[in-house]
Symmetry: C2
Subunit: 392 residues, 2 copies
């Protein structure tokens, strides 16, 4: 049966969200009529639609490797009043199916739309496609977008470690702040390429396990003593057990995120200059760090959603089920919106926090093998030490 299928993207973009969109449209186009939504849920409420003409579908092909959400996405608070507007718009254009690519909020909104229309006697087929860089979406082993972002964080920390090692005599402490308001999947991935103790991270701050400033100071002190430097990685949502937080001791509020606050605390405690860097939007938008397996799965998930349309499945999000880790084998499956909503914002599990190796083995298929850096040259190799009097 030919269907009128409405497709949109919602929430923060990822480097591979367009890959899902393109493969979805590609698989649906020959059989169905496609209408795209501009600007996510806001566009859906406003009736901001784009007809999926042959021309447009051809143009869309060019977006497979382009970061950002090419249909527009953004954030949007949907009230029940807005949900009703969306339903009216969908009825108005005679939609049979609604497919949105998004995260937790997206799946919740899809669930509400389906329910609202069912209450009014309309059976709309509703399907969700997962995406998130934080990996905080439940009901799936992981989500497209995360692998590339994790690769960004892991590689950046490896490279920044080599940079910091070279700056030993000038810069001793560097803080890198990753995305992850509610979960530490990304910050936790930062040690993925670490092989030598001089390399960072020497401290990881997570939202899942609140730290004390004493623990922080101890980690930094130990690393300074052993390596003459310390590279810290903190999740933007990391939590503290103690209160030495945004409000600083000297009474001046510290602006910026958690890395700026830690910079300020460390500078006061150690009386040294500290660099704080927020890794920023590049974590989710860099086309250069795209993980091949992440992109591949993003596309497979798009194709799977197209199959669900033809199988008349509704109320489901496509998900990834990991069958085995070594060799890596996954099944592209489905899970109900209810299940996704029930799981809520999925934290980095304790088993991965307590056993980093286990987490990195789990991560390996998503990030890929990547680089292998040699051991740092060490002071012990110094053969001429104290050859003459040292300058002051």
């Amino acid at each position: 049966m030919k269907k009128r299928i409405v497709i949109g993207q919602a929430g923060g973009p990822t480097a591979v969200i367009n890959a899902s969109l393109v493969s979805l449209a590609e698989a649906l186009a020959p059989k169905h009529d496609i209408t795209f939504v501009f600007n996510g849920y806001e566009g859906l409420a406003e009736g901001n639609f784009l007809e999926g003409t042959t021309d447009l579908l051809e143009r869309l092909q060019m977006y497979k490797d382009v970061p950002g959400a090419c249909l527009g996405s953004g954030r949007f608070e949907s009230s029940m009043e807005v949900i009703e507007k969306m339903c009216q718009q969908l009825n108005h254009i005679g939609a049979d199916t609604l497919i949105m690519i998004g995260g937790n909020g997206t799946m919740y909104a899809l669930h509400l739309i389906e329910k609202e229309l069912a209450n009014k006697g309309t059976d709309l087929q509703v399907i969700g496609i997962p995406k998130t860089v934080d990996n905080d979406l439940g009901g799936t082993d992981h989500s497209p977008g995360f692998g590339s972002a994790a690769r960004y964080v892991a590689q950046t920390v490896a490279d920044s470690s080599r940079d910091l090692m070279a700056m030993n005599n000038f810069e001793q402490v560097r803080i890198l702040e990753t995305m992850g308001r509610n979960s530490g999947w990304l910050a936790g991935a930062s040690g993925f390429f670490k092989k030598y103790e001089e390399e960072g991270p020497h401290f990881i701050g997570l939202p899942e396990i609140p730290d004390t400033h004493e623990q922080l100071f101890e980690s930094v002190e130990a690393s300074l003593q052993s390596h003459g430097q310390a590279l810290l990685v903190v999740s933007e949502g990391m939590l503290w057990k103690d209160s030495l937080n945004a409000e600083h001791k000297n009474g001046r509020a510290v602006l910026g995120g958690v890395s700026a606050q830690i910079k300020s605390s460390l500078e006061e405690y150690f009386k040294i200059s500290v660099r704080a860097e927020v890794l920023g939007m590049n974590q989710r938008s860099s086309s250069v760090y795209i993980s091949e397996s992440d992109k591949q799965e993003a596309m497979e998930i798009g194709t799977k959603a197209a199959h669900l349309v033809n199988e008349n499945v509704s109320g489901q999000m496509v998900c990834i089920e990991r069958i085995s880790n070594l060799p890596y084998h996954v099944k592209i499956n489905t899970t109900s919106f209810k299940n996704v909503i029930k799981e809520g914002e999925r934290a980095l599990p304790g088993k991965f926090i307590n056993d980093q190796k286990q987490y990195y083995e789990w991560l390996r298929p998503l990030i890929g093998n990547g680089l292998s850096y040699p051991p740092p040259l060490r002071k012990e190799d110094n053969i001429y030490a104290s050859s003459i009097d040292r300058p002051k």
Copy 2:
């Protein structure tokens, strides 16, 4: 003649400074004795040396693609007292040649060391190898390290543009701050991949041409009206004609760099939330953005320095002379330290500021062709606009 050659790295590292080092050592090793300096000029003054054994030279091979300076580098203020210490150390180990890889400060120190030893009757052969991400080093068409950093900036702005376009309804103004304390080569490179007017940069702030806040507000306003968003790129060293600077109108000092100040000004003026991001150390250390031609030239320059050793040349920095742009053809040449020092910190020339196209043609061989993104999907393509009453 077999020489005792002392080799070190100085200043901020780049993604390809090790490529120069490895190819230099490779070309010298069969014929000469090599001593490496740990931690740049500080290490030289302290006699912090590493013997270039066969083992070490083999290990060094593994660093060709590793960012950071594997010998240690860092910053160091060298006084005449320290210069004397360095000369003593060089005499002490019987150095015939000193080769340092670095920027403006490095070349100046090499010049002083050569002069100081000559005054004392010692002929030390002194050779400089250029590196800088800012491209502010004179006497050369460009320096290794810049091409990769420029690729980082250009690609990041292209990717961030696609990300921002998707966030139209949530985020309207984004500021990206690049390296470049004294010169705008990197910030100026940010539009290299720009093909469509929606893409950033919509404003570029440079150290070479002071702007007024009025100009800034006008640019942002124009872009907001045309595209509903604005992406600004500012060099960390950008200058203002007017005084609305670090000290903010409401009397509260604005912490952070120039992007944080602009964020604050724009938020006050437009009453919207603005995101400011500092692109950070990844500009100089990311191994993923390395430009192939940059790495290639870094290696050729290392090899050239080895030839200069055998030709008994001294007081010279290896440089790149551009013979033609299309086809790209360069000659690896030499220029005197005096010439480098005379040129001082080299700014982005007016011809490139006034004619961006000319600058980008000059840049193309250094960055490479890279990506080609399709035109953004536009609102004009909307076929269902106002199909029903829009929600408020």
